[in-house]
Amino acid sequence: MLKVEGLHKSYHMGATEVKVLKGVDLAVKKGEFVAIIGASGSGKSTLLHIMGALDRPDKGAVEFEKRDMSRFGAGELNRFRNDAVGFVFQFYHLLDELNVLENVYLPAMAGKSIAGWFARRKAAKNRATQLLTQLGLAERARHKPYQLSGGERQRVAIGRALMNEPRLLLADEPTGNLDSSTGNGILDVLERFNETGQTIVMVTHDDRIANRAGRTVMLADGKIMD
């Protein structure tokens, strides 16, 4: 499904160039649950962002379903982010102005014109409600993010990421901001979705969390270590 080859990425910190990725190669098969583990600053999040088209590599190729993403135009990249991939961030990143239900169906709204949204509104709301029920948040649909606990917020973020039924779910330290038992709950949710066929790539610095994934790869010194 996803193939990364010879990926390089560097950042400038003042006058200094920091090489974060130095030729990363990685392949993810459909239905896999892959954990990328590495120390803080090893480039895990950068790799995840490039795989999700939130950032561009300096060199190398990312292929998604055998299509070279470097050839995607701006519109295609936006569509890719909207319906092919879903993001779960460490800090949930929910919109404070929207309630839980609205946060979950936001990607469905974003992918539609006004007319398109009115035509699909009911179906989208049903899908969002169904996801919230699966995530145990049916009662919280009308609550605002600030009224939820950290674990609940992360589950809302997972619901949002899965709203448009993406082929790939990218999770960046999804339990990094949660206590151990809440984090395990989130991993249970991810495992459950993976069992239904959802492809997941998760980034973490914690071995125990990485072990919940089907496959673990280590990122060190800007490269994947076997």
Partner: protein, 447 residues
Amino acid sequence: MYKITLAIRYLLKRRITYFAVVAVALCVFIVLVVMTVMAGLVGDFKEKNHLFAGDCVVATESLVGFSYYEEFVETLEKADFVEAISPAVKSYGLIGPQGSGSIGVEIMGIDPAMHSRVTGFGRTLDYHKTDVSKAFEPAYDPNLIGCVLGKDLLYQRDSYGTYTIGDGPGRAGYSVSCFPLTPKGATAGTKTDMVNTKTFYHSDNSVSGLARVDGSMIYLPFEWAQKLCGMTNPNRANAIHIKFKPDVRLQDGCDKVASLWQSFREGKTGDKQAFLLDTVTVRSWKDYRRSSIAPMEKEQTVMTVMFGFVGITTVFIVFVVSYMIISHKSKDIGILKSIGASNCDIIQLFSGFAFLVGLLGSGIGLFTGWLFLEKINEIEDWLFGHFGFQLWDRTIYAIGDIPKKIQLEVVVTIFLSAIIACLVGALLPSWQAARQKPVETLQVNQL
């Protein structure tokens, strides 16, 4: 759809946006009130000038006047675009109650019935509105030769702009003195005949609403004005006021009159008094009264420019508020981009927010402005009654109520300007927001 939803939520949930809305509302309120009052004053002033002069005026500034006016009047009477014509004598003289001192006045000799068909003269009278032809017949003795006095020559307005006068003109004679001039401009008389003096009796008052006219004009019967000014033998006049038929455009009518005048003047080449025609011009009422209207129009332009600066202030306020909102919403921009929002979507979102600020602000401003204008005269009366404050002193200025008629084009212009100002104010912050990279805004150290 999410852009509209989020723009509305940003508007409602962020208290700082209320300041932007209030700022826009205040600007719109001020501009609407000032522009309405100013446009009302200018429009009213123009209308009064139009009523004073008719549509087109063939006139000379020379006090000598011009000959052959009767022939040109006959020519005009045959023209299909002319509805009415009124020749007039215009000069200067001295008047005073019999046996007392004199004051300088402007003299206008007219046939009241003809002049009323061309101008609004009849409507300016106090006592002869229904039978203007008898404007120069004093009610107390129709056999006397009357005169119509500009009302401000006789009476003063009170603080509310109303004249306190009796039931009718009192039996008062006014001696009017003029210096008769020959066609060449020399004084027609010598020694004791240097000045022509005649007593006229007060038959009516005229209130044109033009302070200068009402404070210095005395209307006399046309023939008597000619005699006083030495404009007989040959007969001369200073102006011919013309009213066009309703379907004739002002400029078209003036062009036709100018063409007729040109032909008429060419036909008189070589005649004895032809040289008097050289100073005659054909002008629309706007040009004829330009010296009166232009300062008002200039004031209106200055006000418009000043309120243009108010508009710039609005742009700046919206810019600052948008900038603050957007700088607090960089995380949202990252989130939206991560779910597929484009740069254009981000610009649309924040432009939509600015549009809503403009819509709400201008809506509130227009509504409160309308409400204020509806009650503006009552408010002024209350302020005058309690604090002695008036927008302008009615004893000095010939203005009655404060104009409050809102013009649709002014409302539309202000409304659109406010919204455009808001969009302009939000343009740069929106563009900067759209350029933000999601990976930067979503970084842990950005939170």
